[in-house]
Symmetry: C2
Subunit: 364 residues, 2 copies
């Protein structure tokens, strides 16, 4: 840690990367708690927020107008280039962006300029399995913190946040085998303390990160994926009944089996049944990937379905529903890649096409 002084007693210096609905509410809670100064990295909403601040309609915090965190930036700060006179090393870099494992730039690349090696703790408030792996590979001696959030918060129009499902978050330390576990845990504890200082949120320190992560995957591998494929909110799925009975619940049972085989996590039938009705009905909630696809953005399906599926196949766990869902979401991603120019579709039957047309077409 070299010349960097311990900052345990001062306010935490926090960078929040990803200021859509979730990131903004995380930044708000941390500032409100009084134990953190937050710098938020904004992108599409930067000029709107610079001008008028955030407009927040929040279930937990009420109506807020013109709010800004301590500092806003439109790029990820480069701590080594800007130097200590401008930026104190970040105690925490909190990531609330989507985790698009199959498309560059990846999370580790995005946050790299803001990370002080061996010091900054990276808090991933993100969904999915194995998301800590590339972070630990990139920053081998930094603590990595798991945040599992159940908040419902969406942005639209830019700078305007609707926060309509209560902020509940489970915080714990990912296991980083390169550093003592007490270092990881102490970072996670400090982040938890800063978060829970805001009285209006439900924040819990949960050392059993795997349990909470797999439990959330019950929801994300099912509702979030099926919503994206069907462009359907979760309340309509519940009204239809058969979407829950034929797709959502079967996926949840598959995730339960993978969680047990992969991590020894015991998810109960009761956990599954409660997860089915977890969204507040009248919000007609559109899960995050559905929101992403409606905006024309990439979806984080690799960590939500791909990694659990690969783990299942490695361990011989039967996951037939996940497999089909994964295949469909990979195609959805491919469609976005075509729109964004990352794949080219030939207009004619070129010789190189694996599945080009054979001539002549004769059937009978």
């Amino acid at each position: 840690m070299g010349s960097v002084a311990p900052r345990e007693t001062a306010k935490a210096n926090v960078l929040v990367v990803g200021s859509g609905g979730v990131g903004t509410m995380v930044a708000y809670a941390l500032e409100k708690g009084g134990r953190a100064n937050v710098t938020a990295v904004l992108r599409s909403n930067y000029s709107a927020v610079e001008k008028g601040g955030f407009t927040i309609n929040s279930l937990d915090h009420g109506d807020i107008r013109g709010w800004r965190p301590t500092q806003i930036r439109n790029t990820v700060p480069n701590v080594s280039l800007e130097g200590n006179a401008v930026i104190q090393p970040y105690d925490f870099v909190v990531v609330t962006t989507k985790n698009i494992a199959d498309i560059s730039p990846r999370v580790a690349d995005i946050i790299a300029p803001a990370i002080t090696p061996g010091y900054t703790a990276v808090a991933l408030i993100q969904n999915g399995f194995n998301i800590e792996k590339p972070i630990i590979a990139a920053f081998p001696n930094n603590p990595v913190i798991s945040g599992i959030s159940y908040i419902g918060a969406t942005e639209g129009p830019l700078g305007t946040i609707k926060h309509d499902d209560h902020d509940e978050i489970a915080i714990g330390a990912f296991d980083n085998p390169n550093i003592p576990s007490r270092v990881s845990e102490s970072a996670a504890r400090r982040f938890f303390d800063a978060y829970i200082a805001c009285q209006n949120v439900s924040c819990a320190y949960k050392p059993d990160v795997a349990f909470w992560r797999w439990k959330k995957l019950l929801y994300n591998a099912s509702f979030n994926t099926v919503a994206t494929i069907l462009r359907m909110d979760t309340s309509r799925m519940r009204v239809s009944e058969h979407v829950v009975d034929n797709l959502i619940r079967p996926i949840m049972y598959e995730i339960r089996a993978v969680a047990k085989a992969a991590a020894g996590v015991e998810l109960l039938e009761e956990d599954i049944e409660r997860m089915i009705t977890i969204d507040t009905f009248q919000t007609f909630f559109k899960p995050s990937m559905l929101q992403d696809i409606e905006k024309g953005n990439f979806i984080e399906f690799e960590n939500i379905v791909g990694e659990p599926l690969r783990e299942a196949e490695r361990l011989g766990v039967s996951t037939p529903t996940l497999k089909v869902i994964y295949g469909l979401l990979k195609a959805v991603q491919w469609q976005t890649m075509e729109i964004k120019g990352l794949v080219q579709v030939p207009q004619f039957n070129e010789p190189g096409l694996k599945y080009g047309s054979k001539q002549p077409r004769v059937i009978l």
Copy 2:
């Protein structure tokens, strides 16, 4: 057959129900062959065709303007009400509508007014498994003919047909256990003769109806369903490769297994590989259900996936991919039902909801 005279030597009196792309090209081929007088039942395109006839751009027949069949109608004629002075009994009622088994009115109800019991042969140029069952139940002593068509023909705008994949059709008799098989076969033969009289089409008499029907199901249970879920043409699926590898081919292998168990039909790997590249690449073909859903119409997924799936489950054949595809398409149909007002979605968490929200929501 009572007072109805045999008409074997005269031109066949044919009613075509369903005059979109396929129905119009069937009507055109039958008239062009010279062995049939066709009455076409038009709906949305009635006034356009009444005014200016059909405009057809056809791969097989060239550019045609202002074409009309012998007669057009805007409803299904009622032969018993109108009487023999106005309408001779129909030798054939050819059905090229979609077969929406889960929504009224069903095919048997639609065509009932035009059927002379014990006389009219019903030719179903439609996809799917078990489609003849409700027709035989409604008209127990009438022949039912199977038409498996590989034509590519779409309508748009109204009255304008683009026919861009060659008209290939396999004709045979469904087994109707209530009448001698020679009666069914002779009706199918006569329909075949009328169709093949048009030299520009590929029409084959195929007594092994089950084989041709299941072979076509290779395509419809895979490309047609996945296209509908993803809103993706078949050329893009082929360019992506993984859609073929992870979804299309696995479904085809499942259909192959059901065909064997249900009907003793032997579909070969070679049939599967040829079916994968069956569409002419540069047409970027959108299969029929995708066209239907883009128009806001119901989809015929029950005969294409539902019936094969139920047969598979009855016979203990493993069809995990079909099962998920079916669940998704049932949801797609439900979405159309909501739009058309056939299902109501409550705005609040009503007590009767099977999957209503439990209060309070507590997760951590």
